[in-house]
Amino acid sequence: MTARPARLAASLAWLLAVGALAGCTNFFEIAIETPIRPKLDITPFQRVLVAGFVGGGSDDVDANMETVRVLRSQLRSNSGMRVIEADVLPLAEIVARQLKQGAPDDPPNDVAPQEGQLPERIRDEKDLDAYDQVFANVAYWKQLGEEFQNPLIVTGTVLFVPHSRSGFVQREEEVYDAFGRRAVRPVRTYRERKGFILRPKFIFIDGRTGTQVYSETFREEILYDAQQNTPALSSYFELMDRVVPGFLGALASQKIRGSRILLK
């Protein structure tokens, strides 16, 4: 739940409390489940191929491999589509190879990078831009689609980078007065924190035509105290947990739980 709905829900609870105190019985709180339709019409597809991603950032996590693994597992349990188990595509290598060979079917593209213009290592978002052309290569994705009998193809880019931030943060501190009474007061302290940013871009491609049908970009970050030693892989999974509902929202219908007030 984002901050805004949380605030709204809190004020709704406050209104209910005030109404109850006033002895008013003309309203009833009721739980509702609002269905959200998937953003993508997946009716033409019975199968889905999570092909692979151009991954970069931290050396401690293979963003391509891990993302494919997480998404396949989530799709298996949360969508009605059959998940194709295939080797994970090393997309970054494929782009480099395509540039070397100069794919003849590709439309002329002035902004596409030439061989040697690809970054040696993918460290930030700019480095990923150089790989964008592979997602527009209709012939490549159509061929892949034919190979797997025209599934919905999921691909994209995943950047998982270390991140640090320092500055003043507000925290609450317990204090006791001379009579032993407890109080909480806000204290501003300087803290150095480090963590990770996960920025996946999911691209959905129609395996029958090779064209992009939908894409969505997410950005999540997590920060810990600088002294805390959290493994990169566990941070990756924590961040992916936040992203996955949004990803599934593109493919499967979801229900959002909430409450409303019925009136007499």
Binding site: R4, S11, S215, I261, L263
Partner: protein, 116 residues
Amino acid sequence: MRVTLACLALLLLAAPPAVAGSRPQAKAQVEFGIAVAQRGLWREAIFRWEKAVELDPTYAAAYNNLAIGYEHEGLFDKAREAYEKALELEPKNTFIKQNFELFKEINDRATRPPGR
């Protein structure tokens, strides 16, 4: 509880033909709708609240409840229309305003354009 509901339903069926602007009859429909919605029978509740607004088109609470029912069924356009009507009738009603705000949050999420 089922017996109570059945009696209430019989009372509603036995009631004289609806007349526009009939608040007591509309209120009976609204109350029955609330009772069935609380038991998860949302379609029946919507049917009752639709009847209530037919009977009394100035009944803001009935429009509010109808909007919630539509929201629960995923009928977002109809829900928005009903919330707007409820607020038009009672613009200062805080409950309706809150319900509408929560609805808009979800509706925005559901209708966000692709390719963000």
